[in-house]
């Protein structure tokens, strides 16, 4: 039996109010409502469905149909604290029910053991706040497995020699290999490496009432028109609503978390779709608004009792912003690749997940071969900063569209305390709220890492037999940034972290933060899998705690 979704009034004191219906918020809503609690999810953006998910590159990619619109919600950017930030599209995030999981590519790498203990294994790094997580891979492993089985992830266990231990295989076999994947295998073999089937949050076969992928090829930046992409919009959210205890309220833009004299959260103020302010009562609040919007909301929730922002007695709120570094190179091949057909990624290489210490470069990463440039995108940026931009040579390269493969490097990005999210003092959004201000300067190690990955990518392209090749400039990749990590760090010490190992704010007992902002290290790209594993783990603990404390 399927119950109707709940409907709450603002005066109803819900058990949990979740801010953000994305990767983490969807999992929290499902888990907490299934555990018996009354849950309300407030989402900034609209609730869309398959009829809205069109293959119109111009409208979807550039109108911001599924993401924050930089004209309504501008962000600002500067390199260092001394500078004045200028308006710049610095961050992009999913702004609809389902959040970024609606338009993501679906790469679902688990973190490895090293990602949680890199500081103690490899040592401190000057100019960074590199630290161990308060949890280990072993603590999180059961929840990675839950993500794979609850939302539906396709892959092949045992094919990646560097895969960390897993308690269960994938629930679905891998998606079909593409020409880019075959080239990845060919290149990896030459280097003595392994290209293994990409773990993807896209169904290779029907699963739990959803159909298998039709290989339309337009996953990245687009919504899935057949619900084969395992977004929370089509997995966690409907299951939460089926409990009859969960309401998802779209077009609800939270501007402040309210607290009482005892320092406890009482509810939130938000703008509804008509920009009217509503106060919604709640016994506890879970913020899952992403690594940029979460610290912004906590700063906007400052009060006499919390003058530096809510949950910020440590001064760590908004700090250690990480994006995931990487590299980008392209090769032209004799045969047709047709990268635009089929799911973006089919093979991944992780042989440099931990770099040889002799290189003197911290961190590491992985590669995939893909061609994810939609036609306008290929013309605007796809040939690289140093490539032809117009004229006969430009046209020649345009016509290579179906013969190009990209090698993408995905890597660590070091936590640096002065890389931050803060409130812009001058720029406001269309609701009159302070804009997100990004302060970011790449750590020198990460630039060297990007140079290294770029050189390795060129080697891979040679090994794959590329006729022509080019690389993009190394360094912090394209703006806007989409992996928004580290700004509400998890830790055991309230002096140096914002939440404890169960995502509870050190300063506010009934406030939880569950999203990419909790990351202590960046991993090697593809953070959504870990965001959701953290959410499953957090929900289990929070539910137990709420039941025992009544």
């Amino acid at each position: 039996m399927t119950a109707k979704p709940a409907r709450f009034r603002p005066s109803d004191e819900v058990d949990f109010l979740i801010v953000g219906a994305g990767a983490a918020g969807g999992v929290m809503a499902r888990e907490l409502s299934k555990a018996g609690f009354r849950v309300l999810v407030l989402e900034q953006g609209p609730r869309l469905g398959t009829p809205d998910f069109q293959h119109d590159e111009y409208a979807v990619s550039y109108l911001a149909a599924l993401t924050n619109n930089p004209r309504q919600q501008p962000s600002t950017l500067r390199r260092t604290e001394g500078e004045k930030a200028r308006i710049y599209p610095a961050v992009s995030y999913g702004r609809c029910v389902g959040g970024g999981t609606v338009h993501f590519t679906g790469n679902y790498w688990r973190f490895h053991e090293i990602d949680f203990v890199e500081r103690s294994r490899k040592g401190a790094i000057g100019g960074t706040g590199l630290d161990d997580w308060p949890i280990t891979y072993a603590d999180l492993e059961p929840y990675y497995t839950r993500v794979e089985w609850e939302i539906g992830v396709s892959g092949a266990a045992g094919t990646n020699p560097f895969d960390p231990p897993r308690s269960k295989p994938y629930p679905l076999p891998p998606l079909p290999i593409k020409s880019t994947g075959v080239l990845a295998e060919r290149a990896a073999k030459q280097l003595g490496w392994t290209a293994f089937p990409a773990p993807m949050a896209i169904l290779s076969q029907p699963y739990r009432g959803r159909p298998g992928c039709i290989q339309c090829g337009w996953c990245e930046t687009f919504g899935c028109e057949v619900n084969a992409k395992s977004s929370t919009l089509v997995t966690m959210i409907p299951e939460a609503e089926e409990t009859g205890r969960c309401e998802v309220r779209p077009n609800s833009y939270v501007r402040k978390i309210e607290t009482n004299a005892q320092g406890r959260v009482t509810g939130v103020k938000y703008f509804d779709g008509n920009r009217r302010e509503v106060f919604q009562r709640a016994r506890a609040v879970v913020v899952s608004a992403n690594g940029a919007e979460t610290p912004r909301l906590l700063f906007m929730s400052r009060s006499n009792r919390f003058p530096d922002g809510l949950a910020n007695s440590s001064g760590m709120l908004g700090r250690n912003l990480m994006f995931n570094g990487g590299s980008f190179a392209a090769g032209v091949f004799e045969g047709e690749i047709n990268g635009y057909k089929g799911v973006v990624d089919s093979r991944v290489i992780q042989d440099i997940y931990e770099l040889d210490p002799a290189l003197g470069i911290a961190g590491g990463g992985g590669f995939d071969f893909r061609f994810d440039a939609t036609p306008i995108a290929y013309g605007v940026w796809g040939m690289g900063e140093r490539g032809p931009h117009w004229g006969a040579e430009f046209k020649r390269r345009l016509r290579q569209y179906n013969h190009v493969a990209y090698v993408l490097g995905h890597s660590t990005s070091l936590p640096v305390a002065t890389n931050t999210i803060s409130l812009d003092p001058d720029v406001k959004d269309a609701w009159g709220l302070p804009a997100i201000r990004v302060t970011f300067e790449e750590h020198p190690n990460d630039h060297r890492l990007s140079e290294y990955l770029t050189a390795k990518s060129m080697e891979l392209l040679d090994a794959a037999g590329a006729l022509e090749k080019w690389s993009f400039l190394p360094g912090t990749p394209a703006w806007p940034q989409v992996h928004l990590l580290g700004t509400c760090r998890m830790g055991n010490d309230p002096q140096t972290s914002v939440v404890n190992r169960f995502h509870q704010a050190h300063d506010v007992p009934n406030l939880y933060i569950v999203d990419g902002s909790n990351f202590v290290t960046s991993g090697r790209g593809q953070p959504t899998m870990t965001i959701q594993a953290l959410a499953f783990r957090a929900a289990e603990h929070i539910a137990e705690q709420a039941k025992t404390s009544g």
Partner: protein
Amino acid sequence: MDRRFFVKGVAGSAALVWLQGLDTLRRPLTAAKGTYRVLSESQAATVEALAAQIIPTDDTPGAREARVVTFIDNGLASFAAAQRPVFERGLAGFETEVHNRFPDAAGFATLQSATQVELMIGLEQRDPEFFESLRVATIAGMFADPKYGGNFEKTGWKLIGFDDRFGWAPPFGDYDR
């Protein structure tokens, strides 16, 4: 790294309007060839000739055949109206220069191709804001869905071998056969 790389090199430039200014367009545009909503006939001829050097026509079609100028005119009238000042200023400056250097010519569009290219290399250096706006607009007009007025009869998509079928089965390419 599921990134929206599209702004690489374009981020922060005025040309972004071509990629982010769409909120006023909710219905298909069907302007007929040869009639313009914003551009004068002479401006349209110049824009068309400029676009035709960005994506030239050779033994295969280019920006001219894709009716990129119709897309740009539509855009300036609606979804990229914010680019009108850049275009008006940029075009006026460029046409003045063309007239000063070639007082007897009836406009940029009538000049020899090699002369056009030389003038555009100068334009790119002198007015990069207008040039980049023109370049991005040309690419968008070549490859955006035909309902926006360019990519006439899917000329752009056919040129690069993109098939808008949106549903495939392996093999996808020559290497996975």
